[in-house]
């Protein structure tokens, strides 16, 4: 009896947390948009459907996500071929860089690409010098093209990893047989490889589509309201136009679409797992000139796309509009004049972010830990329901979450909207799915026989946890903690709704600083971005070093 009470009592903590801070705010959004508490009814949905402006937002969201997905897959597929076929230096690091996409904050990446490809970007200046022209040859600033490039940056490594890890498990015999039958060139791709890789392509495509469908920071910073996706439009209607019924109607549309996408994705994932075949490593060192050229161009592309922008960011933070290299923008972070745009010196924002991130880490690892362990330890319908509930926040974007806080946590008994504690709570909800996706597979990988043996020898549930399970998965616990920490450090969408201007976080200060055409502010934003980048890079290295062998394809 006591065991049962403990078992369910423990579960009550995360469930209560989800009920209060996740389901209740979502309910308020539904309530608001369906007009249950006022008389408007379906009027707002009708406006979304009939007004070209809002319809345009929905269509554009789908359009840019489709384009981003096609571009990403188109680039990742040939690269995957080279990865599977050849052995070369840097392969492991490049595959690992998919993790980077989860830890790099959008504010930082958006700024880095503006510095590289913007009107006055490094590339344009180099080309203008080379071509002796006065007009910048690359016209990407404030265009859809720029947004697409950054979406490819974020998703390329993820798609590559999904395709490569699947391809490695496809038996090479089928291709060999096809070759023997005389199939070659394009027909080999169309009739053999693509059909074989279909599950991986569908899975990667859906993943990229979902990510770019809910892309927020990148679109807001690089596109502005002119290129508003659903996500940006919700934010805009809620905080700028102050049209809360319209924002909630759009949020419901967004929820429905991501919900459907997530459902489809989960199904394909299940098929992907069933489809594994005998694997054989066919990679070899490139010998022919063609092979060498292929490997070199892939490496060049990856370096240009993934590392060049970050390098340019670091370099520019030291030199932007200055004579030579100087640390003056970094020194500027310590002071705050009354004339400044910011309420506190930027360095205080770093401190704020740090505190919020620590609280987020503690909250999400303990809540996620309880949930994951419960789902792993107890089977049956209850466990499946808990798993479903816990994974649901994945289907809700950060902006919708923040908006739900704004609507739901306003009136008593939950009049918490101006409480600083909402920031780590919101961040925890964003980090929770990530934490679960690290912890749950780690727990499930544990050899069941060990646990059974321990139980047979008379060890209790807790003893097994402390002496067997925890020592075996502590690496994964740490990895999940680092993920939670970096998620909080870089969180932008939900923060815009819950962070008060008097306790700003790092990404919000960066966003404020780049919103004004002032060189001094811009330089400081670069310095802040580099600090954030360094923190995230450290996190990335920690994750890669801690990651247990054989779990590279997760996430």
């Amino acid at each position: 009896m006591r065991a049962l009470a403990l078992r369910y009592g423990l579960l009550l903590i995360p469930l209560l947390f989800l009920a209060l801070f996740f389901f209740y705010p979502l309910l308020r959004i539904f309530d608001y948009s369906f007009g249950l508490s006022q008389s408007s009814g379906f009027e707002e949905f009708l406006r979304v459907a009939t007004t070209p402006y809002y319809r345009g937002t929905v269509l554009f969201t789908v359009f840019q996500a489709t384009l981003s997905t096609l571009l990403t897959l188109g680039l990742a597929l040939p690269c995957a071929y080279v990865f599977v076929r050849y052995d070369f230096w840097g392969k492991r690091l490049l595959l690992a860089s998919a993790t980077l996409s989860f830890v790099l904050p959008t504010v930082v990446v958006a700024i880095a690409f503006t510095l590289l490809l913007g009107r006055q970007g490094v590339l344009n200046q180099a080309l203008m010098g080379l071509l002796r022209s006065t007009a910048p040859p690359i016209q990407l600033e404030r265009t859809l093209g720029m947004i697409l490039v950054v979406h490819v940056f974020y998703n390329f490594a993820i798609a590559l990893r999904v395709i490569v890890s699947y391809w490695l498990n496809v038996s090479p015999h089928l291709e060999e047989a096809a070759r023997l039958l005389g199939v070659s060139g394009w027909r080999l791709w169309w009739q053999v490889r693509l059909p074989l890789l279909r599950p991986a392509l569908v899975s990667a495509g859906l993943l990229v589509f979902t990510f770019t469908f809910t892309s927020f920071g990148v679109v807001l910073i690089l596109g502005g309201v002119r290129f508003a996706t659903l996500e940006v439009q919700i934010y805009y209607q809620a905080l700028t136009v102050f049209d809360l019924p319209m924002a909630s109607a759009l949020a419901v549309v967004q929820l429905a679409m991501i919900g459907a996408l997530t459902a489809v994705y989960t199904r394909t994932q299940r098929r992907l797992a069933l489809d594994w075949r005998a694997a054989r490593d066919v990679a070899r060192v490139p010998h022919t000139w063609g092979a060498k050229l292929a490997v070199a161009s892939v490496l060049l592309l990856v370096v240009l796309l993934l590392f060049m922008p970050l390098f340019v960011l670091v370099w520019q933070s030291l030199t932007w509009r200055q004579d030579g290299i100087s640390l003056s923008y970094y020194a500027g972070l310590l002071v705050n004049e009354r004339r400044s745009l910011l309420f506190v010196p930027p360095v205080v924002a770093i401190g704020n972010s740090f505190v919020f991130a620590l609280l987020t880490t503690g909250l999400s690892v303990s809540l996620g830990g309880i949930l994951a362990y419960w789902v792993y330890a107890f089977s049956g319908r209850a466990a499946r329901l808990v798993e479903f509930l816990a994974i649901l926040p994945l289907a809700v974007s950060a902006v919708v979450l923040g908006f739900g806080f704004l609507l739901g946590l306003d009136t008593p008994p939950l009049a918490l909207r101006t409480w600083w504690g909402l920031v780590p709570i919101a961040h925890t909800l964003v980090a929770l799915p990530l934490v679960l996706r690290v912890l749950l597979p780690a727990l499930r990988r544990l050899p069941p026989s060990w646990v059974v043996a321990a139980r047979l020898l008379g060890a209790g549930r807790w003893r097994v946890l402390w002496t067997i399970e925890l020592p075996l998965i502590w690496r994964s616990v740490l990895v999940s903690a680092v993920f939670a920490f970096t998620t909080s450090m870089g969180e932008f969408g939900a923060s815009l709704f819950v962070v008060r201007p008097d306790t700003p976080t790092l990404p919000l200060v960066i966003y404020r600083l780049i919103s004004q055409p002032n060189p001094q502010y811009y330089g400081q934003a670069l310095a802040m971005s580099v600090i954030l980048l360094v923190i995230c890079a450290l996190a990335f290295i920690t994750i890669e070093r801690l990651r247990p062998v054989g779990s590279a394809s997760e996430l």
């Binding site: 554009f60 309201v225 508003a228 700028t240 745009l341 201007p501 919103s515 055409p517």
Partner: protein, 342 residues
């Protein structure tokens, strides 16, 4: 490990110390707020208080923030809400009423809220500004009405602001509402569509429009929606000539009045009242033109020579009834967004 803990403790301590300092008065305002440091310091000395300034974005964003945080306000006094966003603030009931004795020196016409929840501080006319050199070199005649802006001569020359995000942007949209109306064959929305078709650029805030796109400061658009009081700031120090001027022809401008109010929930109401009086004092009112590009509401304040020479007051600003703005602003903005954006 020990060292890490120490660093953490120091950070936490700094965080806590930030939250609890002795008597401070916090002014919530927009990004364009500025007063001379010595003027502010005088207030601090006289009342033995530390003045913090919290800039919360452009006017619209600032008012939204103030409304959203009204149960636990961001500060004690709010400055910068104008006649275009006034209703959003008054509807949410975020201000405590206060009748400043200094209002005796202010024209009645500026006092829009008869319940005195807000106090007028300054005003300015939102007008088109142009780059004088560009128009001379191109041999272009100046537009004399808003309708001129859609002529082929002015294709791709104008940068304006989104009325949903920018307060001068909203003011300019209201001028178009005043001129073209909202009903009939050719409404303000038709005008804006034609403006876009004529390659006008719309940006989110005034700073980006002026400092990011106006030819006079290095951009590519020689016409910008700005203030009639902006040209003094483009006067060349050696030649004494302004590089820009404003167009103040009848029906091309809109008058904006900026107000201050005491935020409900302040713990320092008396100090906040003193700050409102201070904003209307001669020192601040004389400081306002060169710091914030606007005219003081107080009568008899001597304008700085630069301002007196190069800044102008629009003769006949476009008229939109204040009560109508109050009732229709959100409808107009929404219609604008749906018709013009993208």
């Amino acid at each position: 490990m020990k060292r890490i803990m120490t660093v953490l403790l120091v950070l936490l301590w700094g965080f806590a110390a930030q939250a609890q300092q002795p008597t401070t008065l916090t002014l919530v305002t927009h990004d364009s707020f500025n007063l001379s440091e010595d003027v502010l310091a005088a207030f601090e000395r006289e009342h033995n208080v530390k003045l913090n300034i919290l800039r919360a974005g452009d006017t619209g964003r600032m008012v939204t923030q103030a409304v959203l945080t009204k149960n636990n306000p961001l500060g004690d006094v709010l400055f910068g809400v104008d006649n275009t966003f006034l209703s959003r603030a008054l509807d949410a009931d975020i201000f405590l009423p206060y009748a400043s004795p200094e209002l005796a020196f202010v024209d009645e016409a500026f006092v829009l809220d008869k319940a005195q929840r807000v106090t007028p501080i300054d005003y300015g006319d939102v007008c088109l500004n142009y780059d004088i050199a560009y128009f001379e070199e191109a041999g272009l005649v100046l537009p004399t009405s808003l309708a001129d802006l859609i002529l082929p001569d002015y294709r791709g020359l104008l940068v304006a602001m989104n009325p949903a995000t920018s307060s001068p942007g909203l003011a300019f949209m209201l001028a178009t509402v005043g001129v073209f109306g909202t009903e009939g064959d050719y409404t303000y929305l038709d005008f804006w569509r034609d403006l876009l078709a004529n390659d006008a650029l719309i940006v989110d805030d005034w700073e980006t429009a002026y400092f990011g796109n106006f030819t006079a400061v290095g951009g590519t658009y020689p016409l910008v929606v700005s203030y009639a009081s902006s040209p003094p700031f483009t006067v060349d120090e050696t030649t004494g000539v302004a590089s820009t001027a404003s167009i103040t022809a009848p029906g091309t401008c809109f008058r904006q009045i900026e107000f201050a109010g005491i935020l409900r929930g302040t713990a320092h109401e008396a100090l906040a009242q003193a700050f409102i009086d201070f904003l209307l004092s001669e020192e601040v009112q004389a400081d306002v033109p060169l710091q914030m590009y606007v005219f003081p509401v107080r009568e008899g304040v001597t304008l700085p020579p630069l301002f007196a020479e190069f800044a102008v007051v629009a003769e006949e600003p476009a008229q939109v009834d204040y009560a109508e703005i109050e009732a229709q602003r959100d409808v107009w903005i929404r219609a604008w967004l749906e018709a013009v954006a993208r």
